[in-house]
Amino acid sequence: MRAKWKRLGNEQTKTAILALLPSLIIFCVFTVYPILYSLYLSFFNASLLSAKRVFVGFDNYANLLQNPTFQRAVSNTVSYTLGVVPIGIALSLLVAVLLNSKLRLQSFFRAAFFSPVITSMVAVSIVWAWMLEPNYGLINGLLAKVGISGPGWLTDPDWAMTSVVMLSIWKNLGFNMVVFLAGLQNIPREINESADLDGVNSLQRLICITIPMMRGPIGFAVIVSVIKAMQVFGQIYVMTGGGPANATMVIVYYLYQQAFEFYRSGYASAVAWVLFIAIFALTLLQNRLLKTEI
């Protein structure tokens, strides 16, 4: 009997290894090895164009932190995040609260708010670039009709980041809205009913009941949005290319440029690791929140 169990166990091990193998091979080759190798590369002066590399210790990290363009990229990424996350979360919470009542046309509204989420970032970035075109675009055309002469948006260093932020808020609003709609369903009906009996108005209800009850989903949406914001790339590549005058230079675009335009693979790997550590820390925080709140 024991022997039979043991054989069965061995067979299970064999089956398991066979089942796991395809996934495990890709995982080792394209996740485990690259993350370790990029740490290794970050300590070298290395180029994508030659096989020669020189060990430089922490020099890449030291240079990175002193580099004005990288500093600019970090501060731009932070201001992008501060622009996208609070406004985006507030707007999607507003929409979710409005949509959470019994409404006609509910599925029309939901589709309208969610459709930017499913369309490709590149395509909508091109559409927005055309909307924001200074002379012939939609936005300045509409502004001209009410007598305002609009800025150059993407070509104006003062407005370029704002333009990218507007696009990103529009693109992600539906995602957080759905997260919040699910959260709103979980607020016990009795709480809202007793609030109605007590004559609580809508604003009071939002501040005193809805937001506190939605701590979990809001915390979750904030962290997911921050992680997404730190990885912003596609819209920058298409709309501004990091310009004008580095006004929209962000961390991932900087990494892309250093690695694949200037071929500085060692230095760019240091950028990658700095980004990785920041995102890893945020994700740990998210997992803790998920466990305690939701």
């Binding site: 395809p22 994508l48 409005l98 459709s115 499913i118 395509a123 091109i126 298409v238």
Partner: protein, 271 residues
Amino acid sequence: MQAKRLITYLVLFCLAILMLMPFAWMVLSSFKEEDEVFTYEMTWFPAKITFSGYYRALTEQPFLRYALNSVLVSVIITIAQLITGVLAGYAFARLKFPGRNLIFMAYLAAMMIPGQATIIPSYILIRKMGLIDTFAGLTLPFLAGPFAAFMMRQFFLSMPTALEEAAIIDGCTRLQVLSRVVLPLSKPALASLGLFTFMGAWNDFMWPLIIINRDTMRTLQVGLAIMRADIYPDWPMMMAASVMATTPIIIAFLFAQKQFIESLTFTGVKY
């Protein structure tokens, strides 16, 4: 109460119009003549509906080739992720083997690694394999992923084991159990994971951007981005290309709203 409802509708309508405005602008501009857009008085509607933008996108640009590449890449990645994800998820959920927890922990940790952190070594690796400008290079790193294995494992764990045990007593092998008993019950999870993976692959931009140099191997996203880089922008053509690139997905979404939303948000914690 009535006034409150009215305000709710009003606010939602205004916001919905703002949300849909870029799409309207895209569609209307795509039917304009090439030089019609360069008038100082902005107009919504084309003076005369023309398909010349579409014609130029399809003839002067290898748009169809881009679309075909995108379809192929996304389909290959989706099918492969479903197969590898089901197999790995089943092993994690139901089979006992040494090192299971350790490997699973490694998978969990890897889900926190952003794609940009591994992109340089992955690029060097693909180049060493001689796979620049190939479908293999476009798809290989994405044929399996920790997230697919994780999601399928969670799903299998939520299923009762009684049916599987009965099948094993009846003499089924594990593989038969998986294909005949477990998979038919897993359709919702497979649809969710498949849709999520397909959307991710279809919209992926950075990897195809660096791995492809040859025009005919570009995916739709890279092809669109390259059109935009032209110094003499042909906006109606670009809008026509954007319409063609987005409408199939939008139509699919309108038909299966619920599946899309569930797949992208509840699967899509990772997104």
